[in-house]
Symmetry: C2
């Protein structure tokens, strides 16, 4: 059911476990040549070179975290050992163990489980009746570690060479009315598990994930603080609304009509910290967005938020590369990670977060439509794929039709090409895509034509993989997407692609007035196996430029007066990034949802499965906060 | 203006700076005998013994943080060195420095400041005009480090042996319209500093505090994770209301009439984690309380939240003692810290958070009122103090009168004693308090009579100190207060002293029904120089007992069904604590307010001084959240 992952964490040998779930996102491509972006070179930390010499430690059993040499998980408790760590070398020792009753057998054997593993406890000379103890009750066992007879050794169990002969058994807390058992093969549906998360957390998988998450963040902090002198600063979450961006939760106050907003990120604060001389900032920050309508999102989430002064795009990218390699030392891909431009990603993969674990690239076929040569609103792309896949099913056709509708583009499947166009065009297409390939064609404006094929690419890849016509790279493929456009065309004029504090690309500054849509920005995204796991940008530090951009975006500068003041009172050039921790842990552990890597997640609808929150509140509270619920 | 503190942090020699503010809280007493509390002994981590051998590192200059051996604060930037770290050993090196223009002199000297210190940059052979650069502008200087002529060496400046001869100067960002200068002697009022916090943060004091705060939390994390195998788990902040406790902010949702509450602490979650097998949990947790009316509180604050399974009161106390000593290795007081009971604290210091940096104890003088011997509602206490203080001023008398009024007790000052009572009583009193002492007497019920004298004690101590009649210990005095009562008498019946999940003292369990007010709890507070810096308890793990306590407190068990289910489905015995990080850093840095140790604090009224939040919100937002503001 589980297999080891190629990624594992540096210290304590904390293994990362992947379920053998293969989905569209876990699919190989040839390496892309890193593309270079102008700007001055940087000092890379002297220590960064040594990261490449890390050896991968031997992988431990999937669900346990190894003790480090100094770690003592029994200090300050009344247990002497953990269940999972007893070995033949402990033979003859008197031990006190605490844990949960996992299993009872023949009134003689009790399997005792704690967070570190399972050990068999056996009735010996002292008479012990545990027949009335329900499973999952919490007990304390005093006993002696003994070697099992040779024929009773269980080589599948890390503690299988020994057993503990019980001297005394103490029930610490009886379990009652369990909603489900702790059996991997009887695992209940997600809804039930979430409703009783305190039991679900006892599954080795959840134990492993939460411990890995903690260790990963600790390692990241060590890299930032100990190797590179970053300062963790806690910034407020109760703040004012930031114009643009996601919907922010509001928090009523005792002052009638006045509300805080819960921050969607510490963006303004970290930039003000740069102005304030905290030149190397980070924070494992709680952020809030009211967008529960989007799949696999949580109303509150965690990001590793980083900002540096006196740096540029290369500085941030190198820093993150060092951080990632330091955290996952046996990652096969070494820095520098590939860098591709947004335009390259769009025209080759139909997305700004391409999965390059497999090839399968779009081809620009505009040349086949010479009559449209001068029409800049016309784009035509083909997605060539092995013809051996054959005809797609009606169901897939319908999926593709829906995607085409969403993007408002014309999509033509392979067998319809000669009908929709001409036989001549079909022949010329084969010249481009190769005779062994079929193609799907998309025609529309550039963004939509490509994005549409980008989505279809995932479906085709999945179909090809299921028929062994496509081999996924087993490695984790990380790349940077750079040179995003600064603006996009919204319904009411220019909109920002990243956020309004993103610096325009210095080479395009002269186009700001004349051709803003062609201005590139200094924004960047980090993409892992087709998932965006982080993003950031070089920021605007010049108050005049920031004011101009806000004006172009029709944003109210008055609401950002404090921020603009921070820029004009001596703010250094700065750049930063945020990594989505929930998504990163989910990728590393290969879970289906980020809910699987959060101790107490909320449902799709933003509901807390334990308490039922959100709930009604009292009239007294409404009175106090001057609110009337409609 | 500043002096070094006796407390400093372990790694990187991060110094802690204390202002020479003497206030009532920083006042010496003889050590109190630790009092023992029943319960079984524990394994103390093998590593804890070595904490006592830490040597205190030499203290660095007050405002700088020393680089550790591996830390590289220039990695990933386009500076080669920091301003503050250049020394004679760098002579002859070509450097690139980035920083703020601190001062310009004679069109020849530029003092360049960064977060690490100040260096003098001097115009040499290359002609440079910097007369038009406003102070606090951000510049980059390329130059060569040169020794200053012997007569120009500034021994007061860490970089005073050298200067940087400027080859090239680049203005990175001009400063405009500064609201105030970065001059320690011209420091503006708090209100102005807060409104422009991004400038205020550049003061060395703020730099030092924020960096110390980061380092302190990092050291605490290392202790917990690396030495003792704790797991940091992030828990939600959007949750349901917890019955009892402080007022919780509510967060409206898109679902009409349904609200989240912002958690006042992760209490329920950490206990559910114990049930879930995360047996050693901690979190640097953001908490929310809507109680801006209380002085020096913030609507959001940080606590180091810790919980352990299979432990007891001794386990938690030992763990925190090790943590504190590990974090502040040259703390003079070594574990075990003194433990005094709530009753002892109340009857001797008139408070549950006594400052024992000075003696000055209450005396029970009920024996002087033999006619009240059997009246359990009658208590009489005296606060003896050196008679050399003389008569208190009218102002002090008024203060004392107000305190007496607040507690509704009879207070008699020394010179009124013979009038209020009898000459005979005055003579007997002197037999108790000593001839060299005057006394203030308080008569009422136990709690009020003592608490009243507790407040008066602070005033008298302050007066005595100002007249050199009382010497404060220079050391940091830490102690535990234990054996708090489980309940207190509220207006509508029993109320909880700590929170409803606190375990009754096992020795008093038989009194739960017959005499609940005399039942002690297993709660504990950590008190440093008269300030509560943390508190916690052994929790109830038995669902029946928890249900009984909720019933006694008239709390609705239905609202805690998920929590009660967590207890009954196999929850181990557990105990925990939370340390108030804002308060702790404020104490360590001896700042007047916790606002001084928070990057972006709110005012007394809960207002954000930068953005003006809380603000009005749009009608569209109100519509979306189904709220009408009254």
């Amino acid at each position: 059911m589980w297999r080891r992952n190629i990624i594992h964490l540096k210290t304590f040998g904390a293994s990362v476990c992947k379920r053998t779930v293969i989905n569209a996102r876990s699919l190989t491509t040839q390496p892309l040549a890193p593309q270079c972006i102008g700007q001055q070179p940087l000092n890379i930390g002297a220590s960064s070179a040594r990261h490449y010499s890390h050896k991968s430690a031997p992988l431990p059993e999937p669900f346990s975290i190894e003790d480090s040499s100094t770690e003592n998980v029994n200090s300050f408790t009344y247990r002497t050992h953990t269940c999972g760590k007893l070995r033949a070398s402990n033979t003859g020792e008197k031990v006190s163990l605490c844990g949960w009753v996992q299993y009872l057998r023949l009134s003689k054997f009790l399997l005792l489980r704690d967070a570190y593993g399972i050990v068999q406890c056996t009735v010996g000379p002292v008479s012990i009746d545990f027949s009335n103890i329900p499973l999952e009750s919490v007990v304390k066992i005093h006993g002696e570690v003994t070697r099992r007879p040779q024929n009773a050794v269980n080589s599948e169990m890390p503690t299988g060479e020994i057993e503990v002969i019980i001297d005394r058994l103490e029930v610490l807390n009886m379990a009652e009315n369990l909603p489900f058992n702790l059996r991997e093969y009887q695992k209940p549906k997600e809804q039930i598990r979430m409703q009783h998360r305190y039991i679900d957390l006892r599954f080795p998988e959840m134990q492993s994930i939460l411990r890995l998450r903690s260790q990963m963040l600790h390692n990241m902090r060590k890299f930032l603080v100990e190797q590179h002198g970053f300062v963790e600063v806690e910034t407020p979450t109760l703040f004012c609304q930031t114009p643009g961006g996601a919907r922010e939760f509001v928090v009523p106050t005792h002052h009638a009509g006045l509300f805080y907003s819960l921050v969607q990120s510490p963006q303004q604060f970290k930039q003000m910290l740069m102005s304030g001389g905290i030149d190397r900032y980070f924070q494992v920050a709680r952020c809030y967005r009211d967008e529960t309508t989007r799949p696999d999102r949580q109303p509150e989430f965690t990001q590793l938020d980083i900002e540096m002064s006196f740096t540029n795009l290369h500085g941030v990218l190198s820093m993150i590369e060092s951080l990632i390699v330091d955290t996952f030392p046996n990652l096969l891909q070494k820095p520098p990670f590939r860098r591709i431009t947004y335009k390259y990603a769009l025209e080759n993969y139909g997305t700004d977060k391409p999965n390059v674990q497999y090839d399968l690239k779009l081809k620009n076929i505009k040349e086949l439509f010479p009559e449209k040569a001068n029409d800049s609103d016309f784009s035509a792309y083909a997605l060539p794929y092995p013809a051996a896949l054959g005809k797609v099913t009606t169901k897939t056709k319908e999926q593709i039709r829906q995607i085409a509708k969403k993007y408002n583009v014309k999509v033509v499947l392979d067998h319809d090409i000669h009908k929709a166009f001409t036989k001549d065009l079909e022949v010329k297409l084969k010249n481009i895509t190769g005779n062994e390939n079929s193609s799907i064609i998309s025609i529309g404006d550039l963004e939509n034509a490509c994005n549409c094929l980008g989505e279809i690419r995932l479906i085709i890849a999945s179909l090809l993989e299921s028929k062994n016509l496509l081999k996924l790279k087993e490695t984790t493929e990380i790349l940077w997407v750079v040179d995003f456009p600064l603006f996009t065309k919204g319904n009411n004029g220019l909109e920002t692609c990243h956020h309004p504090f993103t610096s325009p690309h210095p080479e395009d500054m002269h186009l700001l007035d004349s051709d803003p849509l062609s201005v590139r920005s200094l924004a960047y995204d980090l993409v892992m196996n087709g998932n965006e796991i982080g993003g950031g940008s070089v920021r605007v530090h010049n108050v005049r430029l920031q004011e101009k951009l806000l004006k172009m975006l029709r944003m109210d500068a008055a609401k950002l007066r404090h921020f603009l003041n921070a820029l004009q009172s001596g703010c250094p050039p700065h750049a930063g990034i945020a990594l989505g921790i929930d998504r990163l842990v989910s990728m590393v552990c290969n879970t289906e949802s980020i809910r699987d890597v959060i101790a107490f997640p909320k449902t799709h609808e933003g509901k807390d499965p334990l308490s039922g929150a959100p709930n009604a509140i009292s009239d007294e509270d409404k009175e106090y906060y001057h609110i009337v619920s409609k």
